[in-house]
């Protein structure tokens, strides 16, 4: 049988499907981050995503921030200490031990989350040539925001339509432009065991990790919306006062 995959590819429109409709607690003018969801999402990031994806802009000290995960400083310090960071040169100026392994030190609050790969080339080699994007801004960096990220991580497992051939080494995901994504399905039922006992379905894991990533993209959101409420109330009252002044001044001019 003569297979013509190239021809078949151009015959099918591989525009990405519209994002799934899913709600999050942080949406809307009075939205806030669900602390429990943030912590579960962080657990999903740590245990699943961090194998390939960096979180370059988040430091361990962000974990005990206001409007964030709700960890205490001690908890954040403990999380940081669980990571091994490349050590600074010792007194002799060495950064390798006798066996040639890089010397390390425990992480501290000031450290940013470490990248799983030392450089872009290593990341690509590990992932079939594709670069796993950094996740610290992913929710703001994609059209469709949280709904898009949710759709991607839950959009696997479907059967490709007739006429579409999946290139080797890729995975079918119709929510991704071109329908073939280099990332294997990241989530599965019970891929993590949530410490608060919540049932770890794919939907739950996806929902929580997207909440965490939304926080990572926009850690100041709660403060922003709170301040916005106060500012707008103030401005509306000020407008009312200025309107009254305006009418009084112009009363005799008409």
């Amino acid at each position: 049988m003569l297979a013509l995959p190239a021809l078949a590819q151009t015959a099918v429109d591989t525009t990405r499907k519209p994002v799934k409709s899913v709600d999050f607690s942080f949406e809307g003018p009075f939205g806030t981050y669900d602390r429990a969801a943030l912590q579960r999402g962080f657990q999903v990031y740590k245990e699943v995503c961090a194998a390939c994806h960096g979180l370059d802009h988040i430091a361990f000290h962000n974990l005990d921030e206001e409007g964030g995960l709700g960890f205490t400083e001690a908890q954040a310090k403990a999380i940081a200490a669980g990571y091994k960071m490349p050590a600074d040169p010792n007194d002799k100026g060495e950064i390798f031990d006798d066996k040639g392994t890089r010397l390390t030190r425990p992480g501290i609050l000031a450290d940013k989350f470490p990248n799983p790969f030392p450089n872009e080339e290593a990341a690509r080699a590990n992932n079939g040539g594709a670069l796993p994007p950094d996740l610290s801004m992913i929710v703001k960096a994609r059209e469709g925001g949280p709904q898009y990220v949710y759709s991607i991580v839950t959009g696997f497992g479907m059967t490709p339509p007739k006429g579409y051939t999946l290139p080797a080494g890729k995975y079918f995901n119709p929510y991704f432009e071109g329908w073939n994504i280099s990332m294997p399905p990241p989530l599965a039922d019970n891929a993590v065991t949530f410490s608060d006992g919540t049932k770890a379905t794919v939907d739950q894991e996806a929902h929580d990790v997207v909440t965490f990533l939304a926080w990572a993209s926009d850690p100041k959101m709660e403060e922003r919306k709170r301040m916005g409420f106060a500012v707008l109330i103030f401005l509306v009252v000020l407008s009312g006062l200025l309107f009254a002044a305006y009418r009084k001044v112009w009363a005799d001019a008409h």
Binding site: P29, H57, N62, P133, M137, K140, A141, R142, E143, G145, E177, S217, P219, K220, R224, K225, M227, G228, F229, V231, L232, L235, V236, L238, S239, L242, F243, A245, Y246, V249, W250, A253, H254
Partner: protein
Amino acid sequence: MSGPSTYTPNSGLEKWIDQRLPLPRLLHDTVQTFPTPRNLNIWYTFGAILTFCLGVQIITGIVLAMHYVANAGLAFDSVESIMRDVNYGWLIRYIHSNGASMFFLAVYIHMFRGLYYGSYKAPRELIWIIGVLIYLLMMATAFFGYVLPWGQMSFWGATVITNLFSAIPWVGSHIATWLWGDFAVGDATLNRFFSLHYLLPFIIAGVVGLHIWALHVPGNNNPLGIDVKSPQDTVPFHPYYTVKDAFYLCLFVVFFAAFVFYAPNFFGNPDNYVQANPLVTPPDIVPEWYLLPFYAMLRSIPNKLMGVIVMGGALVTLFFLPWLDTSRVRSCRFRPLMKQFFWALVVVCAILGYCGSQSVDAAVAGIPLLWVARLATFYYFLFFWILLPIVGLIETPRKIPASIAQSVLGDTAAAAAE
């Protein structure tokens, strides 16, 4: 109108200053007693709103510049550091980015007001021309500023627009290299764009000074388009217009704050939250919304050089406006035919903006947007170069009131006031 100054110093200190630097006198004459037509409406408050916007952009910009690093390897991260680590950095950044959109929204309303009420006509031609100069400086400032975060749109938008210069025959590619400071957009480009982005707003401030100075010679136009004939036609700027401007400015700030606090990325492009990568071209390269109409004009012409000429021509056309309009009547309130063409222009500009936001091969209801953009560009030039000269000559204007006072206060009141 500028007339003799009516300022009288009240105290010894005021006299002392007035003899050495008549600044209080200047403020008194221009902001306090300046005779202003009594019939100015909401569309006349945008000059004050624009001054406010310029002030906000300069102040937030200077604070941002204290934390921003103009280096290709560090710029993107420095902006994220402002958003995350600098106290209220997120607020200053969002005010600055949304402030740019507010600035352009206000300037478009301000310009369309000028078009509608004939504020560009004699003796106010220079005010209009200086205004167009301010608009061009704003576009340059905004273009340079958008490159600074060094996101994908920053980099590729800069690449597309600076490459336009290479369309100029013979010297084009040399001009482009000279502008870039390199053989492509890169670190050298970013550094000089930062320098120019810091410089231009102060040039704008100076030109705004000229704009207001030129305005204060003949005084404000008004919605009726008729000259001030007597003191009954005017009111002192303070308190009448200080309070009116303050009120409308406050409403504008409510609108502004709604975006800053609740939809801070509404006007932005998500691709600009991805660091610039010279090796990865985004599927669609678009400028910010306020530059879209010109972007649509540029893309609607198949030839690169002609596209640049058409886009540039659209801007240069604005300089000729005072001489293209042949009408004796200033305000479109009394020009029933021109009024319709004016509103058609407003719609056409919005359509051009929409076309600019979509990809080149997009179509709506089967109609390729490329042809919609071409038609819209045609109407833009038709309006200025054909309609304005001809309609002024053939139109029958409506009856114009005798005076501003009569129109506002009524016949008996105006007569009694005389």
